[in-house]
């Protein structure tokens, strides 16, 4: 339902006419994204009633107050590289594109944190932080992912989780425009003491802010956030180079920085690999770590296919490396420290019958950029087949994850054998221990499918039906998806289905939602409504 002229005018008065639109042509650029075909059966989701480009916290606050006054649904987003960024529960909803709020407000070197606005992407902050010997964690969305989106609003996890935790673990305070329009400064920021911690006396609001997987734009707008930074042992500046005529995607960091090492360790079995991952965590030696990060990338798919064929001809089993290989980055402030970590790693690998795979220096540099900065992940996800899907996925103990992996493998294999998903021999499974395994493993089982191939799409839906069946074989592996991911509650009913299975968690979430958003104006598509319709 369209906004009335009075409503539209009220919003326009806040941001100015150049920063608001209800033109269908403009609006239809805010309802198309990857994953839509699988979820909505078309490229389009709900067309918003208007799109606004607020330029400040004050404008965000005024917009939210207007939404409460007129009972208009709203949803904010930053880069918008996610299905959950756009989908609205109804057409009387507006989207807030936060592109104009793009400042890095502070890098506090001494206290190792940065304060940013919503449109600052991860790579930009990483590069600025590197100048000061610091870096932030990476996430699977790659370098264009938003710092605030990944930290405060969505599930942000990736290869550096072993040393940095998922981005959600790094939030040190926020400025939060609540769905009522009130502004909450969380943690020490409230007392203007600096943004160094999100917790103060009394109950922490960090769980309410995002929990494990974020509210995906459903509980207001984070207009500023402080995130923890971690040590960077490389140079203050990095440069990607290539021979003349090689396109940017073929560029590599000239070498792995001297205080880092990039390695792949192969193990005789998956269980040996998992056991080693536990011990690597205990030893606290990895800067980045991931099971299976070895799919070869080429300039384009045709070039990539040629490389795969060459590997096969050379007798290199991509499948074996993918299922029993661990990619990891070691880093230290001193050469002695690095030598110690490498020695440790070799000892651990040796105990489990594993050993390093020889990698040419240029490939080591590529592995370093992939593991530390998540270069190549967008290519991996979308160029191969057009789209990807992550399911089943979960967090838990290593044994639990190994068990999930085995079951997932059995379920996914037939689709690949029939050629309905990309045939990788075994499913591509990403295993990422969190915080040196002190919080367990995170695992994602990935299927690469073509949403515009009817058979491939049907297979994907069939697979999702199985992996997300509340009475199916994966019922005991936790709530499906990442809480966000491709979950649109009014399509998938994940919380409705799994709430009763898992301690009625949905009731708590709905209570919090109702308390924060009494008028129900924060879009709940990728979160939860106070009352299920």
């Amino acid at each position: 339902m369209a906004l009335t002229d009075i409503e539209y005018q009220a919003l326009e008065d806040i941001v100015g006419p150049e920063n608001i639109s209800r033109e269908p042509a403009i609006l239809d650029t805010y309802d198309q994204c990857w994953g839509h075909k699988a979820v909505f059966d078309q490229k389009f989701s709900t067309r918003p009633a208007a799109v606004l480009l607020p330029g400040s916290s004050e404008e965000c606050q005024a917009i939210v107050k207007a939404c409460n006054r007129y009972r208009i649904l709203f949803k904010p987003f930053s880069s918008g590289f996610e299905i959950v960024a756009f989908a609205l529960a109804n057409e009387r909803g507006i989207l807030l594109d936060l592109k104009r709020m793009d400042r890095i407000l502070e890098i506090d070197v001494e206290n190792m944190h940065a304060v940013v606005e919503p449109y600052v992407n991860i790579y930009r902050l990483q590069r600025e932080a590197m100048k000061h010997g610091l870096v932030m964690g990476s996430i699977g969305a790659g370098p264009s992912g938003g710092v605030i989106a990944g930290s405060c609003c969505h599930f942000g996890g990736g290869t550096t989780m072993v040393s940095t935790g998922g981005l959600g673990r790094s939030v040190l305070g926020v400025e939060w425009v609540l769905p009522t329009g009130d502004v909450l400064s969380m943690g020490t920021a409230e007392s203007e003491m600096g943004w160094f911690t999100a917790d103060g006396p009394g109950p922490s609001l960090r769980g309410v802010l995002r929990g494990r997987s974020g509210s995906n734009g459903g509980s207001g707008i984070i207009t500023k956030a402080s995130v923890k930074l971690y040590p960077w042992y490389g140079p203050p500046d990095i440069k990607f180079t290539a021979a003349p005529g090689v396109p940017p995607s073929g560029k590599r960091i000239s070498e792995v920085p001297p205080n880092y090492k990039a390695m792949i360790i192969m193990f005789p079995s998956q269980s040996a690999m998992f056991e080693a991952l536990i011990n690597i965590g205990k030893a606290e030696i990895a800067s980045a770590l991931m099971g299976a990060l070895v799919f070869p990338y080429g300039e384009g798919n045709d070039e990539q296919w040629a490389v795969i064929q060459q590997m096969a001809a050379a007798g290199i089993s991509f499948t074996q490396v993918a299922s029993q290989g661990v990619a990891l980055i070691l880093g230290s402030g001193t050469q002695r420290g690095l030598e110690y970590k490498e020695k440790c790693l070799m000892e651990i690998a040796g105990q489990m019958g594993g050993g390093p795979v020889p990698i040419p220096p240029s490939d080591q540099a590529g592995l370093f950029a992939a593991a530390m900065l998540h270069f190549g992940f967008v290519t991996a996800a979308f160029r191969r087949t057009g789209d990807f899907f992550v399911s089943p996925t979960s967090d838990g103990s290593p044994d639990f994850m190994l068990n999930l992996r085995k079951n997932a493998e059995q379920m996914l294999k037939p689709y690949m054998e029939k050629g309905l998903f990309q045939q990788l021999g075994i499913p591509e499974m990403f295993v990422m221990p969190g915080e040196n395994n002190s919080i367990g493993f995170h695992e994602e089982n990935v299927s690469f499918y073509d949403p515009w191939d009817p058979d491939s799409l049907d297979a994907l839906r069939d697979m999702v039906h199985k992996s997300e069946d509340p009475n199916g074989q994966f019922r005991s592996y936790g709530v499906p998806h990442l809480g966000g991911g491709l979950q649109i509650e009014w399509v998938s009913h994940v919380h409705q289905n799994f709430g009763p299975i898992y301690d009625n968690y949905d009731k708590w979430m709905r209570s919090i939602k109702g308390m924060l958003d009494p008028n129900g104006v924060g879009d709940w598509s990728a979160y939860i409504p106070a009352i299920f319709p």
């Binding site: 590289f81 790659g142 264009s144 798919n301 967008v378 290519t379 990309q422 515009w452 491939s456």
Partner: protein, 424 residues
């Protein structure tokens, strides 16, 4: 090709937004990482390449019709191709070629900007994009003794291009270039008042028929004059002859060179000597049409095939133009060969260069946007400590000057030809 032929590409845009920035691999200074002037200036997603995919798909699905908003987003684009380079670091799709088709479709449907129509009317009547009289086209060369290609044959044809022919302030550049060739003993000629537009800028506005018309004319003119090499001081013309003509199956049967390439040869073989000191710290602005857009056209006929079940490949393998094979080193080598000149690089260079703002009909229809874009480039040039901004295209040169007139920061602006002249 038709808009419909890009449907699969439209579906495959994941909305990663890489098209808004220069490739991550090329990002050096985080204050200069935006790649698309349109997306940077107008903010709504519609102004980025991804937005163009989205609107085109909505249009094909009859969800939207022609509208002022659609038109605005489609035409406020320099067609500079930076988005195309960035997108192709992660995808096998063709954003820039979609833009060509989109504009062609707009023109077919009569959705034409009045300012573009004025320019195209002028082109149809007077064979130039400057709304000048055909009879005045050769005035820039007045007094220079050179072969007339309408009457004589010459090995080298020097094509001044519309901008240089009618922009009097730039005449010293193009006259200087021609004189260098003559003095070097090159068997060179010009068409004078009978020179015509290449058709490239018209094509970029959506008037594809004009490209074909001028391609046919040019091929005949080259043949009649017995030309072996076509030399262009204008990067737009160079790219059009080299790439766009090839794209439509009318590749000239002659060697197509930019003036910097020809000068480079003359410097390398010692024909011209650069001896005078030019004490100046300069930065080089890669013209889009000499850089990423000048990558040779790659003809491909085949079909999409699936390997490994669902991996999308091509039979035969398809080589995408990803921008790295443009002309980048030769202009830099010419600059470096000038005694006293110190070349410093801007943060966005080669295939990631920020556009000057003059392309795609933007200068004709939205001069304030063109000037803003040029102003951003000048800001970058000053940020790297350059005292002068050097380009290799009359359109860039003009737009930088106009931006400064319009309030952009001041910097000395040169064409490479001018620097070479100073050093001779």
């Amino acid at each position: 090709m038709a808009l419909k032929d890009f449907e699969h590409d439209m579906q495959r845009c994941s909305r990663c937004s890489y098209c808004k920035w220069i490739p991550f691999e090329n990002q050096q200074n985080m204050d200069f990482i935006k790649g698309c002037p349109s997306a940077a200036r107008y903010n709504f997603h519609a102004y980025a390449a991804s937005g163009k995919w989205n609107m085109s798909y909505a249009f094909l699905n009859e969800r939207i019709d022609h509208s002022d908003a659609f038109q605005d987003a489609v035409y406020r684009c320099m067609m500079d191709g930076c988005c195309d380079v960035s997108c192709k670091t992660v995808q096998d799709i063709e954003p820039l070629q979609l833009m060509y088709e989109l504009r062609k479709k707009f023109v077919e449907d009569g959705q034409i900007l009045p300012e573009h129509m004025l320019t195209i009317d002028g082109l149809k009547k007077e064979d130039n994009m400057m709304q000048g009289k055909k009879v005045d086209r050769g005035k820039w060369a007045k007094g220079i003794k050179v072969k007339d290609l309408t009457k004589e044959k010459a090995k080298v044809a020097f094509h001044a291009g519309c901008r240089y022919s009618y922009d009097e302030e730039l005449w010293p550049i193009v006259r200087g270039a021609l004189q260098i060739l003559i003095d070097a003993g090159v068997d060179v000629g010009i068409w004078g008042k009978d020179e015509v537009c290449c058709g490239g800028r018209a094509e970029s506005m959506g008037f594809a028929g004009e490209l074909t018309k001028y391609a046919d004319h040019t091929l005949e003119a080259l043949k009649a004059a017995g030309v072996e090499t076509l030399v262009n001081p204008c990067s737009d013309c160079y790219q059009c002859y080299k790439v766009e003509y090839d794209k439509i199956g009318k590749k000239p049967p002659v060697e197509v060179l930019h003036i910097t390439e020809y000068l480079h040869r003359l410097i390398q073989d010692g024909t011209i000597k650069l001896t005078k000191q030019v004490p100046l710290t300069v930065t080089y602005h890669d013209p889009c049409h000499l850089g990423r857009l000048a990558e040779p056209w790659v003809h491909w006929e085949g079909k999409e095939v699936k390997v490994m079940g669902q991996m999308i490949c091509h039979e035969p393998p398809k080589q995408f133009r990803r921008g790295a094979r443009g002309v980048y080193d030769i202009p830099r080598e010419v600059i470096k060969s000038i005694p006293g000149v110190r070349l410093v690089e801007m943060y966005r260079n080669r295939e990631s260069a920020w556009c000057c703002g003059a392309g795609g009909g933007v200068k004709d229809a939205y001069p304030e946007f063109a000037n803003w874009t040029a102003g951003e480039r000048i800001r970058e040039a000053k940020a790297v400590g350059a005292k002068a901004l050097v380009s290799a295209c009359g359109w860039c040169r003009r737009n930088f000057m106009d931006a400064m007139e319009d309030g952009a920061a001041r910097i000395e602006v040169y064409d490479i030809i001018e620097l070479v002249q100073k050093a001779m």
